[in-house]
C-alpha cells in the first residue's frame, strides 16, 4: 500500500472518532443507550474463544464486597489524588480496574482482602472505627504509618507490604488509563516517521549522530 494512503486511512480513523464525540455533545435529547460493544463485551480485541470464555467467567463474579470497595476507593485517591495536571485515581476508573485485575490474577486476592482487613483492625484499635469511617486526619495518620517502608515501625510491616501492592496497582491502573497516559505525555501509538532524537534533546545531552549514521539511516521525504 502507498504510505500516504494508509497514513491517511489511519488519520481518518482518528478524525471520525472526534466527530462522533462532537456530535454526542450537541445532542439535546438523551440518545438511546448504545448497543453493547461486542469488543468490550469480550474483554478486548481479536479474542480467541478461550479468552472470551475466561472474560465472561471472571466478569460474572464479584470479588470485593461493598465495604472493601468503599475502602479501596478512599485509599486509591489518597495514593493518586487530583492535582493541577490531571484527575484522581477514581476519576481514571482505578477501583473498577482493581476489581477486574484481582479476578484475572488471583494471586492478588488474598493479600488485598487480608490487607484491607488488617487495616480495618488497626483503625478499630486506634480510632474505634473501620478505615472508611475514620476522619480524614485519622486516615492519613494510618497511611503515614505504612506508606514509607524505610521508616515504618516493624510491627506494621504487613501493612507496608499491603500498601506497596496497592500503590503498584493504583499507579498502574492510573497511568494506563486515558487520563494517565495524557498526564504522562506519552506521544506515541500513532503513525509517524522516526527520524531520530530531536536536535534540542541531542544538544541537551551533548550527543550527535555520527556522519556514517546520518548517511546510512533511513531518510524521509517531507
Amino acid at each position: 500500500m502507498d504510505r500516504r494512503k494508509y497514513l491517511k486511512t489511519l488519520a481518518v480513523g482518528t478524525i471520525s472518532t472526534g466527530v462522533l464525540l462532537e456530535s454526542c455533545k450537541t445532542e439535546t435529547t438523551p440518545p438511546p443507550p448504545p448497543p453493547p460493544d461486542p469488543v468490550k463485551e469480550q474483554g478486548g480485541h481479536d479474542r480467541q474463544p478461550n479468552e472470551v470464555e475466561h472474560f465472561k467467567k471472571i466478569t460474572g463474579e464479584k470479588f470485593f464486597d461493598d465495604h472493601e470497595m468503599a475502602t479501596l476507593t478512599v485509599l486509591v485517591d489518597i495514593i493518586i489524588p487530583r492535582d493541577e495536571k490531571s484527575g484522581s485515581a477514581t476519576d481514571a476508573g482505578v477501583p473498577a480496574f482493581l476489581e477486574f485485575i484481582v479476578k484475572d490474577m488471583p494471586r492478588h486476592q488474598l493479600p488485598m482482602r487480608g490487607g484491607l482487613k488488617w487495616l480495618d483492625l488497626q483503625c478499630m484499635k486506634k480510632f474505634s472505627n473501620p478505615f472508611v469511617n475514620c476522619t480524614e486526619a485519622q486516615q492519613i495518620e494510618m497511611v503515614d504509618a505504612i506508606a514509607f517502608p524505610e521508616r515504618a515501625k516493624p510491627e506494621v510491616r504487613q501493612g507496608v507490604a499491603f500498601f506497596n501492592t496497592l500503590r503498584d496497582l493504583t499507579a498502574t491502573g492510573f497511568y494506563t488509563s486515558e487520563i494517565g497516559i495524557k498526564d504522562l505525555g506519552y506521544e506515541g501509538n500513532r503513525a509517524n516517521q522516526w527520524d531520530g532524537v530531536p536536535q534540542d534533546v541531542l544538544d541537551q545531552y551533548g550527543l550527535k549522530y555520527d556522519e556514517r549514521t546520518l548517511a546510512e539511516s533511513v531518510k524521509f521525504d517531507s
Partner: protein
C-alpha cells in the same frame, strides 16, 4: 463411538506441508510459485494481522491493561495464540530437568509475534566442531546457504548496515532507523570499552518493497502483528500470496496425528483431527514436508510408528528428538539517572531495538566455547500493566524535581509526580547465546500420557552444561561493565552461581532447534543436506529441527533460507521423477 470413521480425501496433492510458520510458509510460497498442487495443514485457526487486529490499541482498551495471561504470555495485545501452556495439550519432564515449550497455534505460527531479528549465520556457525571440537559440523557451509539468504532478503526485506564482519555476514539491507536516545548512550559507553554496537537487523520495511505490503509507520508494535504487513510474518508475507496463487489449499485447525505410510513403509499421506468437530481425516500426497516446529515435527515422526518404522518414521538412526537446544538467555536492567525528568517526544520507532551487539570476542581466549549477541531496550514506551511498580525502590534514591531527597514510597501529589519524573529513564539488555548441542538433551514420547486428541505427548530431558553457565556469567559481567560505563544504576538482574547467573530455563528464548538434524552419515543424522529424510526420499523437515547447531544468532532467517533451498530441491526432484 459407533460412527467413528476416518474420512479419506480422494484428492492427492503433490506436496503436503504440516505447519505454516517460517519453514512451512516458505515451502507453501515456493510451491505456489512453481505451480505445484499443495496442501498446507495448520493446527490453529486462520490469522491475518489486517483482520485480527490488536495493533494501535491503547492500554485502557484491555481490561488488564495489556498484562499477560496464559492465553497470551507476552501480553494481552500480543499476536501469539498459545504459549508455554495450552489447555488439553500437555508435555512432561524427565529426571527433574526442565524445558519450557512455547507453541503458537495459528496461521503463521510464532512468526506473528516474534522479534523480527533476522541474522544470517556466519561461515564459522556451520563448522563449529572443526573450530572447538564440540558438537558436529553441518553437512553444508555458508556458501551453500548464502544464495538463499540473498533471495530471502529480497523477498521479505530486512534493514541493517554493511559491516563486513567475518562471522556476521551482511544481508541485502534496507536502510536502518536512527538510534534512540538511550541507544546512543549505550553505543557511546560500550564502544569505549571495546564492545561493538551496530544497527540492528530486523525484517521490518523501512522502505516499501512491493505493492502488497506497506512500509513501517513506527508504532513499535510488531509483536501485535502489522495491519499493513510492514514486517515479516509468515501468515501475511508467505501464506497469503501462496493461497492467492490458487495452487495452495489450507486447512486450519488440523491437528496432525501422524504421517501415514504404505505397506512398504513409504509415506503416503497425513492423518489429522479437525479440532472444530473432532472428526478424523486422512489426506494423501506425493511428498510430505514437516514444518510443525522442531519439537512438534519430532513428535510427529516418533508417533508415526509402523512395522517398517518401529522406532518412529525416519528414525533408523535413533536420533529424532535428540540434540535439542535452545539459545541461552540472561538479562539485566536499571535506570539512567541522566534521563530522569526527560523531555517527551515520540520515540516508539520500529518494533524492537535499533542497535545491537554481535558477538565480538574470540572463544579460544575464554572459558566457554560459543558466543552471544546483546539486545537492548528502554526509553519512553507506551505504559502497560506493571508501569510504576516498585516506586518505593526508586524515589528514595534520587533527588526529586526540587533537588531534595525524600523518604522512599509515599503517596499523594508528590508520589503522583514521581511517576512522571522517572518515566522513560529505565533500560535493559539481554544476551542471546549459543548452547552446545548434546545428545542427552532431548524430547521423546511420554509412554504414559496423551493429549486431549489422544495423541501421545512429548517428554523433555534438558540440562544446561558448564559451558552455558560460564557464558551467562560472562554476559552478566559484560552488562555490568556497560551499565557502569554509561553511568547507569542496576535495579534488577544481578545474580551469581546460586542461580546459574540468571541463565533462563531452556525453552524460554524460543529458539529451540536440532531435533531432526541433518548430516552426511545416516547413522548419526535424520536428514541429508537437503532436509530430506535419509530413510524416506519423499519426506522432508524444514523447521528448526534440521539445525546441527544453533549460532549466536536467531534461527528464523536460516529456517527461511533452508526451507527455500529444500523447496527448490523438491521441485527439481519431482521434475526428475525421483520422488
Amino acid at each position: 463411538m459407533a460412527d467413528f470413521q476416518i474420512k479419506k480425501s480422494s484428492k492427492v496433492y503433490d506436496v503436503i506441508v504440516v505447519g505454516s510458520g517460517a519453514g512451512g510458509g516458505m515451502t507453501a510460497y515456493m510451491m505456489a510459485q512453481a505451480g505445484v498442487k499443495t496442501l498446507l495443514l495448520e493446527a490453529g485457526p486462520m490469522y491475518d494481522p489486517a483482520k485480527n487486529v490488536t495493533q494501535m490499541k491503547w492500554p485502557w482498551e484491555s481490561p488488564r491493561r495489556g498484562a499477560s495471561t496464559t492465553f497470551r504470555p507476552f501480553g494481552d495485545f500480543d499476536a501469539a495464540y498459545g504459549g508455554w501452556e495450552i489447555e488439553g495439550e500437555p508435555y512432561t519432564q524427565k529426571d527433574g530437568t526442565r524445558f519450557d515449550w512455547f507453541r503458537s497455534r495459528m496461521l503463521g505460527g510464532r512468526t506473528n509475534h516474534w522479534g523480527r531479528i533476522s541474522l544470517r549465520f556466519g561461515p564459522k556457525d556451520f563448522k563449529r566442531k572443526s573450530i572447538d571440537g564440540l558438537g558436529d559440523d553441518w553437512p553444508i557451509g555458508y556458501e551453500d546457504v548464502a544464495p538463499y539468504y540473498d533471495k530471502v532478503d529480497q523477498l521479505i526485506g530486512v534493514f541493517g548496515s554493511k559491516e563486513n564482519l567475518p562471522n556476521d555476514p551482511d544481508s541485502i539491507f534496507l536502510p536502518p532507523p536512527k538510534p534512540r536516545l538511550h541507544e546512543l548512550m549505550i553505543k557511546e559507553a560500550a564502544t569505549t570499552i571495546g564492545i561493538p554496537v551496530i544497527p540492528s537487523r530486523l525484517s521490518i520495511l523501512t522502505k516499501p518493497i512491493n505493492k502488497d505490503r506497506g512500509a513501517c509507520f513506527y508504532c513499535s508494535q510488531c509483536n501485535r502483528g502489522c495491519t499493513v504487513y510492514g514486517d515479516f510474518s509468515s501468515s501475511s508475507v508467505l501464506v497469503k500470496p501462496a493461497l492467492n496463487s490458487g495452487h495452495v489449499d489450507v486447512i486450519a485447525n488440523a491437528m496432525v496425528r501422524e504421517v501415514v505410510t504404505d505397506d512398504t513403509g513409504k509415506p503416503v499421506g497425513i492423518s489429522y483431527v479437525d479440532k472444530t468437530n473432532l472428526q478424523e481425516y486422512q489426506v494423501n500426497g506425493r511428498v510430505i514436508v514437516l514444518a510443525a516446529s522442531a519439537c512438534e515435527s519430532a513428535r510427529l515422526l516418533l508417533n508415526s510408528r509402523s512395522v517398517s518404522h518401529p522406532n518412529g518414521l525416519a528414525n533408523s538412526s535413533n536420533v529424532v528428538g535428540k540434540y535439542l537446544h535452545d539459545s541461552t538467555g540472561a538479562s539485566m536492567g536499571g535506570i539512567l539517572p541522566k534521563l530522569i525528568g526527560r523531555k517527551r517526544y515520540n520515540e516508539d520507532g520500529v518494533g524492537g531495538m535499533h542497535v545491537y551487539t554481535p558477538w565480538w570476542l574470540d572463544n579460544k581466549k575464554l572459558d566457554f566455547p560459543r558466543g552471544y549477541h546483546i539486545e537492548y531496550w528502554g526509553g519512553i514506551g507506551m505504559p502497560g500493566y506493571g508501569f510504576g511498580f516498585g516506586m518505593q525502590n526508586l524515589n528514595g534514591k534520587y533527588p526529586g524535581r526540587d533537588g531534595q531527597m525524600k523518604p522512599a514510597g509515599g503517596y499523594g501529589a508528590s508520589l503522583k509526580d514521581d511517576y512522571r519524573y522517572f518515566y522513560g529513564a529505565t533500560f535493559g539488555m539481554a544476551g542471546r547465546g549459543e548452547a552446545v548441542a548434546r545428545e542427552d538433551n532431548y524430547c521423546e514420547i511420554d509412554p504414559n500420557t496423551v493429549d486431549k486428541y489422544g495423541i501421545p505427548v512429548l517428554r523433555f530431558h534438558y540440562k544446561w552444561s558448564e559451558f552455558e553457565v560460564k557464558q551467562a556469567r560472562h554476559m552478566k559481567a559484560t552488562f555490568e561493565e556497560i551499565i557502569q560505563k554509561m553511568g547507569g544504576v542496576i535495579t534488577w538482574g544481578k545474580s551469581g552461581p546460586e542461580d546459574n547467573y540468571g541463565l533462563e530455563t531452556p525453552g524460554r528464548i524460543i529458539h529451540e532447534v536440532g531435533t531432526t538434524r541433518m548430516g552426511n552419515d545416516p547413522k548419526k543424522s535424520v536428514l541429508n543436506r537437503y532436509n530430506q529424510a535419509h530413510d524416506c526420499r519423499n519426506l522432508f523437515v524444514v523447521d528448526g529441527g534440521p539445525f546441527v547447531s544453533q549460532a549466536d544468532k536467531n534461527p528464523t532467517w536460516t529456517i527461511l533460507a533452508l526451507a527455500m533451498r529444500a523447496s527448490e530441491y523438491i521441485i527439481e526432484e519431482m521434475k526428475k521423477q525421483n520422488i
